[in-house]
Amino acid sequence: MVLIRNGVELGHVSGELPDLETYLAGNEGDSVLLSPDVDLETLKPRLSGLALIEVSFPSFTDGRGFSVAKQLRRLGYEGELIATGPLIPDQYLCAVQCGFDAVKIEQECYVRQSEGEWNEALHAFDLFYQRGYVRQNPVSRNITEARYE
């Protein structure tokens, strides 16, 4: 798998995170892999002990993970949040805006699209209509707020 953060390819990463069941069964560990149908209530009590969460995307058209990220951030999770699956550059911004720090994609997806495309995608827009999805890096603005600055 290839990790992309801030529009930069950070090389290969291997190894799988424990799934929710395994994580909850043990008392150790600070990382977990969530499926998009996760019931976040079960994770809530253990959230503060986590430093790394991956949310899996079964296909790039399955947008559940975006809402999971949004809900995790609302629950106060501040650690690393990674979207894992066959995402395409055109979704990178959505992921970042919903609270992901990085995406992790299959090698075969990555070869079609270069690092440049991921980086370009991150800068495709810097203005958004929705409030509550503004990102820090690179900086974006909410249009409503910009209108009254």
Partner: protein, 551 residues
Amino acid sequence: MYRYDEFDHTFVRARSQQFKRQVERRLDGSLSEEQFRPLRLMNGLYLQLHAYMLRVAIPYGTFSGKQMRQLAMIADKYDRGYGHFTTRQNIQYNWPDLVDVPAILEDLADVEMHAIQTSGNCIRNTTSDPWAGAAIDEIEDPRPIAELIRQWSSLHPEFTYLPRKFKIAITGASNDRAAIRAHDIGLQIVQNDAGENGLQVYVGGGLGRTPIIGNVLREFISRHELLPYLEAIMRVYNRYGRRDNKYKARIKILVQETGLEKFRDEVEAEYAQLEPLDIAVPQEELNRIADYFSAPDYDDVSSSDEGYDKAVILHSDFAGWVRSNLSEHKISGYTIVNISLKPLKGAPGDISADQMRVVADLAQEYSFDEIRATHEQNLVLANVKKSDVYALYQKLVVAELATGNIGLISDIICCPGMDYCALATARSIPVGQAISERFSDPERQRVIGEMKIKISGCINACGHHHIGHIGILGLEKAGVETYQVKLGGDATSTAEVGKVTGKGFSFDELIDAIERMIDLYLRERDTGERFLDTYRRIGMEPFKGVLYGTD
């Protein structure tokens, strides 16, 4: 009407630039067709039977003469000189080349238009009452809220890869002309006990294979809370809507399978965890948008106009057109002019580039430069002085736009069917044409009165056949087209899904069958009854009798 400010302009340009790059990346192979497909759909680009089809958004159906002229230019330059108005107040072009699409989007952006989210599994164009701002039964013009939703839903980071398409409609009038209960979310502007206007929220309506009339999810939500509340609904849908079966992925199925009560609890639970103030826009923004829709500068004119009254008496063709195509305006001395795009032999909703320019000119001259597209595939000039109507009518006649059949039997809603659509199982446009032909006598149409015939070319129901007074569904049985007939559908505040009469008809039998039903209705009707009323009173059996000879 709404005008873009610098931010709206920048946003739409950035979107068109992004799409241009997506096309380039498709052509150089960095995007596979599978990856490109949802991206192009989200920008209104379909692959049809013969070519690509581009669907351009007309937010809540309101646009200007200048925009109409640009649509005409695009029809001439990139297409075959015509466009097609859809049942969702959009316009589509049936023959553009893929490589031209980025240029078309630039041309659209020049006049504050786009194709954003006219297709795909995202929030689509919010539709509304075509008589907004002019209707006599209106509590409040719904378009400021529709515009608010347009902005909020444009490229939503979280809700752009939904289980399925998502349609919102809003009305501000007591008579529902936006079919809100046939939408994923329907919004009705209502007044609460404190005299405040807010929204009643319906959820889970929809047509398609499983037609369902939406139910009330919330009796009242203030306009300040609307966006946070919509966000809560969308999040529940995005997380829990079915993704295993395309035909069960709409929110109506989620609501049905979860149960309305439990679904409501889930939405309220999500809503309770939101910070509405972080999501809602401030009052000054609501005001800013609403200001664009303030009433035009109406002249103070008398309610009866001599020239108009005289023309009605002198010209029977004009009088007939007046009776069907004008609607009452809230300001006396003004009227709402409905322009039919359903001429005899035409394809419902089609309009030539030359006709577009005529409508643009008429809007500019007589109706504060504003046009409306209706979900019934017609056009409206909503603010016309009665004293101007005869002059306007004569120009419509010259442009072959003076068909006097609004709301009548030949004012048919019809999907493209086999003529264009890759999914079609039967022809639909020719069916509409054959019905119009059979009932072509304008006097006979008027005697029959209000009648909504809706035709779909397959079970996907784009022609809204479930909610037609008479609904027609074209199917294929062993290589032959058969047409199933439904009766009693209704898209208004008394919404209902029509019921199937029984076995289907061949193309040739169908027209006779419809005529027999109309004749029955004319024999049976009480004074003042529409076809729908008579059907509701006497029930299905007598109609079955004339259809299948069982009586």
